[in-house]
Amino acid sequence: PEEVIVTDITINSLTVTFREALVARGFFRSWEME
């Protein structure tokens, strides 16, 4: 499986999760990169 970096960021008590992939292929739901 491809590597995905997961990071939580909190600003003003709102924490959101970012997931970053090194390659787009298979990562995006709505659109495949060329």
Partner: protein, 114 residues
């Protein structure tokens, strides 16, 4: 904020030096994340990568290095780049500026001090 936002995140083509973080980032997050969250995320990721390169890495250093500020831009008509308000949610940005069903393209550059 239940929806998920997909982003292709790149250095600003003219405001960033070529060797600065030339990598395109593929990111998913929740729609309630704000532009400020994304800016902070970028600062943390770049600080971590810089420290890894330099063989450092204490949490205190990451905190200090990630204080660097970044401005986030979205491409608009005629090859212009619009600065995004930090308080906007990414869902709002998508509805207001992007509107198409593919990952939203955003650009970043260090915030200019005035």
């Amino acid at each position: 904020g239940g929806s998920e936002i997909e982003l292709v995140f790149r250095p600003h083509p003219t405001l960033m030096e070529k060797e600065d973080s030339a990598q395109t980032r593929y990111i998913k997050t929740s729609g309630n994340a704000t532009v400020d969250h994304l800016s902070k995320y970028l600062a943390v990721r770049l600080a971590l990568e810089e420290m890894r390169k330099n063989g450092e890495g204490s949490p205190i250093n990451v905190e200090a290095a990630s204080e660097k500020q970044y401005t986030i831009y979205i491409p608009t008509a005629n090859n212009q780049f619009t600065v995004l308000n930090g308080s906007f949610s990414l869902e709002l940005v998508s509805e207001k500026y992007w509107k198409v069903n593919k990952p939203m393209e955003l650009y970043f550059a260090p915030t200019k001090e005035h």
